[in-house]
Symmetry: C2
Subunit: 406 residues, 2 copies
């Protein structure tokens, strides 16, 4: 298994395009991903009660549609809180793609990201789709154009691909994602697309994705705000030529491992590129009685505004980590907690059995001054552990979100 | 019933003092509140698993002690995550007050606020207590000195008092509080003291407080971080001379009403003076099926970083309010939601049945530019409602918390 250069166009038979249509002021705002043959689709979606029109459509397709062949995505407007007109616009967007590519409408996933409460500029979108379809290419560059077109306040595009083998056949998985703000996924993050040329049953594809997302996208947070538009979409078109995976055999688990590399890489990129973020914070909680407890503890730590501002200030204010654990809802003995921080600069134990180790503040600050920081917490109760990813909290988060619509 | 000038020294028989002892660099850091006769004590405390030493002590006294006569509070160090040494220091602080005032140690509540994980400078504290006891006075100014001595990053001291009548006798309730950061009370906020000269049984005093806190201190949030030190302490010394309240009669409910004026005023002051805050945000959710749902919805809105940054930027980005309601865990129909904002500038309906009213953005911005903003959300399902208080989220929150220990 190895990580390769590329994104959604890396697997056989997938093409993509990204263009500027005029929804946003200047930057690319329409993306299309296409499989040259019908693919199986799987998806996980936001649990927010307020669901955007494209989310409702994709949930329906994921349940009812046997084949998915295209994913169309616009940025700039989220098409959430837009009522019947929003649903009509969403269908019009899907229909425009279906017409341009000669597909049935129920094989076209849609996704939107941007401001909530505004209607899609549907004429601009419909006009742009023939051009978008014409520009579809299977090159790495085309995948990157699509990854760029789904960005909102992201500062860089997020792609990842991995190659592995099933029954002597080369299989590839590729993915792209956008994140930045309103990131506290409760199913998947605000729009990620993963493609693969693997042959696998629809049921197992969905099961692999649903299991994977618990450990990857659902383990990141930028601001504790679960979006209305979270969608993770996965297409498998079978073009690698492997014998179709129909049971949970070794091949299935090999696929799950490869999928996890792509989704956890994209998740980390989203956390690191959180709005205003200057660094990535990875928190592992060990020694929990069960996985749920470890998840609650690690997410509580990476979600705390006080932990995040301390990390921004390179301040080893570990009391805030214990405080965030304390209100997570998990029972533990504060006087059993150990805490170690590490980065490229070195590693340092700050807390032993719930109290300070009288560490060097200077060394702690130098560790925290890195762009990637790991914290490991051991609560010494059981054997379960979980890892969550977040980012620091800087002035720029406030700036970006105070001025978002202006 | 009327609101009067003053704080903890307003009721008969209560004295207070606040001095600089040397725990903090420059500002006052030790406060003492004293009742000249034994009083009944009630308290509500943090639900954080990590509880500071003074919190553990006060919980014990609240259960076991018939009389409370003094409350000693230091700021600068929280005495949390400090193990056995922390508990020993806490007892030493209580004992020093007991000796200076010739009281049994189990009539002395303690409270600490400040950095987590550091030991109290117990010698400095012990040395300061005789002077603190000597400076006890029943004046309004003495109450203010105490309110100032418990401040951390608060920008002003928080006091409130109210007068009402029970059986022909004037009764007074006075209170002080400190807040600012790590404010998301799950029982009471980081240190509030309320005094009254009412005569009432210990059981009813506690019941009134426990019920009240659900509607006041537990309904505010600055940063979703529930502190390790939250304590709300209430003393009733009976010196007003009313017939002791022993049942839930009209007098009891009159007391509850008066108590609510004091605690909700202090709660609002804490929300308005949240770290870096430039304005107070009051959110009422109406039309809920039950009170719990209304609480979850209103607290989810005031806690959202995205709502808070939009309010800071005077941006009527109402989609973020619906989004925050959507992930609150409460079921509702997004297309039934109405939303009205108001301030001294006027009022404006932004949302009708889940969609924009095509309001004037300019007028919305002028409403949001006030220092006190109310938002009323109606979900049109039932008759329950709740109000929560929060603040906006500015650059200064980040500044204060990135540099807290430096």
């Amino acid at each position: 298994m190895k990580i390769i250069h590329g994104g959604v166009t890396a697997p056989k038979g997938f093409t993509a395009a990204g263009i500027y249509a005029g929804i946003k002021k200047k930057r690319k705002d329409m993306a299309l991903v296409y499989s040259v043959v019908p693919a199986k689709g799987a998806g996980t979606f936001t649990k927010n009660m307020v669901k955007a029109a494209p989310v409702l459509w994709d949930i329906k397709l994921t349940k009812e549609s046997e084949n998915i062949q295209a994913i169309v995505i616009n940025s700039g407007v989220a098409n959430a809180c837009t009522g019947e007109e929003g649903e009509k616009n969403n269908l019009a967007m899907a229909q425009a793609v279906a017409s341009a590519l000669q597909l049935p409408i129920d094989s076209v996933y849609t996704a939107s990201t941007g401001v909530i409460g505004k209607q899609l500029p549907i004429d601009i979108i419909k006009d742009s789709i023939p051009q978008l379809a014409k520009e579809l290419k299977d090159t790495t560059a085309a995948g990157t154009l699509a990854a760029e077109a789904i960005m909102t306040t992201d500062t860089y595009s997020k792609e990842c691909a991995v190659k592995f083998t099933v029954g002597g056949k080369d299989i590839t998985i590729g993915g792209m994602a956008k994140g930045s703000g309103m990131i506290h996924p409760d199913m998947a993050t605000l729009i990620a697309v993963v493609t693969t040329d693997l042959a696998i049953s629809k049921e197992l594809l969905q099961e692999a994705l649903s299991e994977d997302v618990k450990h990857t996208f659902n383990m990141i947070s930028v601001d504790r705000d679960t979006s209305t538009n979270d969608s993770l979409l996965l297409l498998a078109n079978g073009m690698a030529g492997n014998e179709e995976i129909l049971e949970k055999n070794d091949d299935y688990y090999e696929f799950c491992k490869a999928l996890n590399i792509v989704t956890s890489s994209l998740s980390k990129m989203i956390a690191a590129d959180g709005e205003g973020a200057t660094k990535l914070l990875e928190v592992t909680v060990e020694g929990a009685n069960n996985w749920d407890d470890a998840v609650k503890l690690s997410k509580s730590i990476i979600s705390s505004n006080l932990v995040k501002t301390a990390v921004f200030g390179n301040d080893a204010n570990w009391g805030r980590i214990l405080c965030a654990m304390g209100y997570s809802g998990v029972e533990f003995d504060p006087y059993k907690v150990d805490l170690i921080i590490e980065s490229e600069t070195g590693s340092l134990q700050l807390v032993e059995n719930g109290m300070t180790t009288d560490y060097s503040e200077e060394f702690a600050t130098s560790i925290l001054s890195s762009e990637e920081i790991k914290a490991t917490v051991n609560i010494k109760q059981g054997n379960a552990k979980a890892t969550a990813w977040g980012c620091d909290f800087s002035y720029d988060y406030v700036k970006i979100n105070a001025e978002y619509r202006s």
